[in-house]
């Protein structure tokens, strides 16, 4: 269970109602809840969609699910009229190792997700929204379902929301425990009751999505931002962040730090400060070895690469990614060989298996690294791992293949010496990492 943490450097937008019992609808309303939706409706039926989308565009908000696609622009791709119903789909599958921020949102501020979903629906003319929670988030599903029921009871959902004459329904749904269904098209398949395998694109979901209707799919954090943005204004939100990276973001900091947790920092915030100040520095005063900056799929940064701002563009420039904002900190005791193995084990286990390069590639990297880790490695294994990963890159059906190959390549390229030494018997680091270390920033 992630704990509530705070730090003076935080810029609070999303966390505003954390720790204040906002899961209760009255509390939420007391804290400006559902004001944004009503503000949108007050623009009048005709002006409302344009107003919402313009505000979102102005906010510079980029998707918090990983890819960082500008949200306002995504919404504007939905055709105005459609023969099939349109949908809003909230992606709460949060399964990227090192990421636990949507968890906090569902627990601490479920109505913000609901309100954001309503507003997204108003913007594109959808009558139904789905909130899809990760299969393991059972307890959170209870919270969300309560919140949805309360919103219905108040007339914020249903046939005539806020007395506007407009209808909007929300349906909650959980997965069965697969990382891959976080990928937007696999998410739709899963929601429709099918195997969690991605779809061929084009067509893109904005045109042909859920049940064949135009659909916008957004991360839960992206959606939870929406009411705040409407209340504070797009420009104001935008200015909180860095260039081309509007606003603030929830960073899940875990691993070997003194104070792991979910912190809300402005986009572009320095990574070094995030580790050494916000999260309290390396656990037990040890040396930093490496950082995974945005969730398990992002290539690792060495200790000498952390003078960089936390936004999509700066991380891309240095060959990694901001991803889902899950920062995993590794100290000097960590064996990169083991960490690489633990990472690929996850991807091998989670690959949906649809396409050959990913299904077979993750399996072979895992097998090879397992042998290396268990002491049976040879130097050419490093080449094999690198060759397989390079040949997965850009060749798979969905971005999962890249997500598995990129970190692997990062490890073997940046820590090649450590692999070689390990194979030659000079094992570096002592096995330390347990699953809990990687998944949630618990540790102590």
């Amino acid at each position: 269970m992630p704990r509530l943490v705070s730090h003076p450097d935080e810029v609070i937008v999303l966390k505003r109602r954390f720790g204040q019992g906002a899961a209760k609808i009255d509390r939420y309303i007391a804290l400006d809840g559902y004001a944004a939706a009503q503000k949108a409706i007050a623009q009048g039926k005709d002006a409302m969609p344009g107003w919402i989308i313009d505000t979102m565009k102005a906010s510079g908000l980029r998707g918090r699910g990983g890819a960082g696609f500008p949200t306002g622009m995504k919404w504007s791709f939905v055709p105005k009229t459609s023969a099939k119903p349109k949908y809003v789909l909230v992606n709460g599958d949060e399964s990227e190792p090192g990421t636990c921020k949507d968890h906090m949102l569902f627990r601490e501020d479920p109505h913000a997700v609901i309100e954001g979903t309503i507003i997204a629906g108003l913007a594109i003319g959808a009558k139904t929204g789905f909130i899809y929670l990760r299969g393991e988030y059972r307890t959170l599903l209870n919270i969300m379902e309560h919140a949805v029921a309360d919103a219905y009871a108040r007339g914020f959902l249903g046939k005539n929301i806020f007395g506007s004459g407009l209808g909007f329904d929300i349906i909650t749904q959980t997965g069965a425990g697969a990382y891959e269904v976080g990928e937007e098209s696999a998410l739709m398949e899963s929601l429709e009751g099918k195997r969690g395998v991605p779809r061929i694109r084009p067509p893109f979901p904005a045109v042909v999505g859920l049940y064949g209707g135009p659909t916008i799919i957004n991360n839960a954090e992206t959606i939870a931002n929406v009411p705040h943005i409407l209340l504070m204004g797009g420009e104001a939100y935008c200015q909180l962040g860095s260039e081309r990276n509007g606003g603030t973001r929830l960073f899940s900091i875990s691993g070997h730090v003194e104070r792991p947790g979910v912190y809300e920092l402005p986009m572009g915030y320095p990574l070094r400060k995030a580790i050494y100040e916000v999260a309290g520095g390396i656990l037990g005063g040890k040396e930093l070895k490496a950082v995974v900056p945005g969730g398990a799929s992002c290539p690792v940064l060495r200790a000498d690469e952390i003078d960089i701002g936390l936004d999509f563009d700066q991380l891309a420039k240095c060959g990694s990614m901001l991803g889902s904002g899950g920062i995993v900190v590794l100290d000097e005791t960590v064996s990169i060989v083991e960490f690489a193995l633990r990472t690929i084990k996850f991807y091998q286990h989670e690959s949906c298996g649809w396409c050959i390069p990913c299904r077979e590639g993750t399996d072979w990297i895992k097998k090879t690294l397992t042998r290396v880790y268990e002491g049976g490695g040879a130097k050419k294994d490093i080449e094999t791992v690198q060759y397989v990963a390079e040949n997965m890159m850009g060749r798979t059906f969905c971005p999962f293949g890249d997500a598995a190959a990129m970190p692997t390549l990062g490890f073997v390229k940046k820590f090649r010496k450590e692999f070689e030494d390990y194979i030659e018997g000079k094992k570096a680091g002592t096995p330390l990492m347990t699953e809990e270390h990687i998944l949630v920033g618990a540790g102590h």
Partner: protein, 813 residues
């Protein structure tokens, strides 16, 4: 879609916008490797073998999902592309058992071919491969998990193509596995198994040797067989099939049936019978020596000479003493056209009798008469794949005409064809139907009346008058309609339905029947009251071209006895001789053996059937896979039958008929016009340019000579001599020899001759029982069923299956 021009490897190609790049390339002769792509099935983009480089696009693109647009530029063969494909193969092979030396697919495997091309055989992984035991899913479907490359073709062909959905993917990632629909926990012996139509399409479509056939696996290597393209003997669809044949000590044996070149009317399709049920030919109960009944009542093997002499002498004697009217001749539905024609000609011109009939499985006589005087109204099986609207009255194609069902499903799926079905049972095809009309029992006649405008019959069709009315309205609004008619409709009912159809300008018709040559048997005149091509027997009018055949035959000019009357005649002691070629009327029509005790019976068959055991002489016959000639399917699509297998001791029906005639002292040359090629009628101007799929460079001349009837017919046993006469005399059989010999099908529209009122026709309406459909299911094929080990196994298998029904009406509880 408008045409656009793209550039592939520097070559400009023009094709309709939106066409898949992989198809565009195929047409242009540029090969793109593919595992998961299969024309006609949904797209997967899973195997990543078809990747190509597209200009200005960052990632490699899959050609199987790329729809072309103006100006696109692609490269399909750059080092980058080749490397991507090679790496994908390496990844696959890493876990592949590479047991090619024993794999059924060895030599016919797409994975082998691609590895050969991309040179990815070097496996650099040190880890052990994942192994799993093979599984037997049904008597005919086996699964070898380690060979599976997860292309999902089997899953799709079963679901999308067959509408059965018996296969699926289970688990995920590298544990993904193809599973059948009956999980181990529900199966009688705790082994997962398939409850399905057992068509074997999944085996056919599997690019590797992961799915193999129970009847073929580990029997031989593909290159040790001869591959002979011929026609399936089982149902009236007449699928083209390729038989794999190996020589044995007593001839040559069929070991495999498949659909190699996919160039036939059946396209990709073959059903379980076409694929496995050739095995009746290998049954150990086959007769391979003539048998003659001895005074002690036993059937004793004798030489061919002795048997034929006996039959010839006896026939001649009985003809002399009792006359032709005391003879009965019954033909079968699996004879070739040449044989059927010869049999009736023999009956009429040598035995001087019209007492000839066959086991009718549909009322083709009424069908032809109803269409008399029209042109272009006969549908081809190919129409079922393209017709915009189809009406199916009666029948159950899923069980009785599986290729028709396959085509209809494909047509609905790909072209959105509107399928209207009227049936007394909820046949499976209703799932593809736009409208399904549940007809009351015996209601087809009333339906035909109602469709034709007689509202008073409504309540006899169905209590749901509104459904009926809208059904008719929908049909009336169609501009063209393919009308498929089940064999339940006969005589006047059939005519009524066709009359209604004829009011729709573009309507075409087909009458569905059971066996390979049911239609041909009728077309060729195995009927007591109609000559070949449904021309009348008499009275002869020398000015009327329809009398041409009767004139040449010098046959009796009044109708003979039909099949039932022949047996009636026996009952009253008026049948001196019965000659049966390839039929089992005693069992089919439930004839009392006692009535035949004073009749001299000659039976040509493969087995000692209920009819054969009563015979005085049994002559061992070759089956359709062991002889040459042509057959006409239910639709009148004519195809060549090629001799594939051989069995020592047996003879073709054709040869037997000729030899009996000879022994009777008849002029064989009159019966079969053999001799130096003299028939120059209709020599094609095509100088052999259009070589067919199966003629190689070497036999170019032979094909042309044969095609143009310039080759001498060297013996009276040459069916092509008979075909010359069929071509010359039978209305509607103006066929193209070259097409036929090239292994292509051609649609014949016998332009039935309007029948004269004074022709004295048998009215089938009053004699419904004359038409006796086999009502075959997927796992039966008339009398042949019991001699086919695979059909028996499948029936047994079906019985022990748990509760999932093919029709999906009941599901596992």
């Amino acid at each position: 879609m408008a045409d656009v021009t793209i550039t592939v490897d520097g070559k400009k190609i023009t094709a309709p916008a939106g066409t898949l790049l992989i198809e565009v390339c195929k047409t242009a002769g540029i090969e793109i490797p593919a595992f998961c792509y299969y024309p006609g099935l949904s797209l997967q983009a899973a195997c990543r073998m078809c990747v190509v480089r597209q200009e200005k696009v960052p990632k490699l693109q899959t050609a199987c999902t790329t729809q072309i647009a103006e100006g696109q530029v692609f490269f399909t063969d750059t080092p980058e592309v080749v490397q991507a494909r090679k790496a994908t193969l390496q990844l696959l092979l890493g876990n592949h058992p590479l047991d090619c030396p024993v794999c059924d697919a060895g030599g016919e495997c797409e994975l082998q071919d691609m590895t050969f091309k991309y040179g990815a055989a070097d496996s650099f992984y040190a880890e052990p491969k994942n192994h799993r035991e093979e599984q037997k899913w049904s008597p005919v479907v086996y699964f070898d998990r380690p060979r599976c490359i997860l292309c999902y073709r089997c899953v799709r062909v079963c679901g999308e193509g067959m509408d059965v959905f018996a296969l699926a993917v289970e688990n995920r990632g590298s544990s993904s596995i193809i599973v059948p629909n009956v999980p181990a926990q529900l199966a009688p012996d705790n082994l997962a198994q398939l409850d399905c139509e057992q068509c074997g399409m999944c085996i056919d479509i599997c690019p590797v040797g992961a799915l193999t056939s129970g009847t073929y696996r580990y029997k031989t290597r593909p290159w040790e067989m001869n591959h002979v393209a011929t026609v399936c003997t089982h149902c009236g669809d007449g699928c083209k099939t390729t038989l794999g044949v190996r020589s044995t000590s007593d001839g040559s044996q069929i070991v495999r049936g498949d659909n190699r070149d996919k160039s036939g009317i059946n396209g990709d399709f073959l059903c379980n019978k076409g694929r496995y049920a050739f095995d009746f030919a290998n049954n150990s109960e086959r007769i391979t020596q003539p048998l003659v009944r001895q005074p002690n009542g036993e059937l004793k093997p004798v030489s061919w000479e002795e048997a034929l002499t006996y039959v010839g002498t006896k026939f001649a004697e009985l003809l002399n003493t009792h006359g032709g009217r005391s003879f009965g001749v019954i033909g079968g539905n699996r004879l070739t056209n040449e044989e059927a024609y010869l049999l009736q000609k023999f009956a009429r011109s040598v035995l001087h009798t019209n007492n000839i009939d066959h086991h009718r499985t549909a009322d083709y006589a009424a069908f032809a008469q109803s269409l008399a005087g029209t042109a272009g109204r006969g549908a081809s099986l190919r129409d079922t794949l393209i017709a915009k609207a189809v009406l199916l009255v009666g029948g159950d194609p899923t069980n009785q005409n599986p290729a028709t069902a396959w085509n209809l499903r494909s047509n609905v799926r790909h072209n959105g064809a509107r399928l209207y079905i009227a049936n007394i049972t909820e046949i499976k095809l209703r799932r593809q139907a736009r409208a399904f009309l549940h007809v009351a029992e015996y209601g087809y006649g009333a339906l035909a009346e109602y469709l034709a405008g007689d509202d008073s019959t409504s309540s006899s069709v169905t209590p749901d008058s509104a459904a009926l009315a809208s059904f008719r309205d929908a049909l009336r609004s169609e501009e063209s309609l393919l009308i498929l008619i089940g064999n339940e409709l006969r005589g006047a009912e059939l005519k009524r339905l066709i009359d209604f159809g004829l009011t729709i300008p573009g309507a075409k018709f087909a009458l569905l029947a059971d066996y390979a040559n049911s239609r041909g048997a009728a077309d060729m005149g195995l009927l007591p009251d109609l000559l070949p091509g449904y021309t009348h027997i008499g009275p002869i009018d020398t000015a009327d071209p329809a009398s041409r055949i009767a004139l040449e035959y010098h046959s009796p000019t009044s109708p003979g006895l039909d099949l039932l009357e022949i047996f009636d005649a026996a009952t009253v002691g008026n049948l001196s001789a019965l000659y049966v070629a390839g039929a089992n009327p005693v069992a089919r029509y439930d004839v009392d053996p006692a009535t035949l005790k004073n009749t001299f019976i000659v039976v040509q068959d493969m087995f000692l059937t209920e009819t054969a055991v009563l015979a005085d002489v049994v002559l061992p016959a070759a089956n359709l896979y062991e002889k040459s000639g042509c057959v006409s399917n239910s639709y009148g699509d004519l195809q060549q039958v090629k001799k594939a297998a051989d069995r020592a001791g047996v003879r073709s029906d054709f040869e037997m008929i000729v030899r009996i005639a000879d022994k009777m002292g008849a002029d064989v040359r009159k019966l079969v016009p053999f001799g130096p090629g003299s028939n120059s009628e209709g020599i094609s101007a095509d100088m052999g340019q259009t070589r067919g799929a199966e003629s190689g460079e070497a036999d170019r001349h032979a094909v042309w000579l044969t095609a143009n009837n310039l080759e001498p017919r060297l013996s009276p046993f040459d069916p092509s001599a008979m075909l010359d006469e069929i071509q010359r005399l039978v209305p509607g059989y103006k066929l193209l020899r070259l097409q036929l010999l090239s292994g292509n099908d051609q649609h014949l529209s016998p332009a039935a001759v309007p029948i004269r009122d004074d022709a004295g026709l048998v009215q089938i309406s009053n004699r419904r029982d004359l038409v006796l459909p086999a009502n075959d299911t997927l796992f039966t094929s008339g009398s042949l069923t019991r001699y086919s080990a695979s059909l028996n196994d499948l029936q047994q298998n079906q019985l022990r299956q748990p509760i999932i029904q093919i029709d999906n009406k009941t599901v596992v509880d």
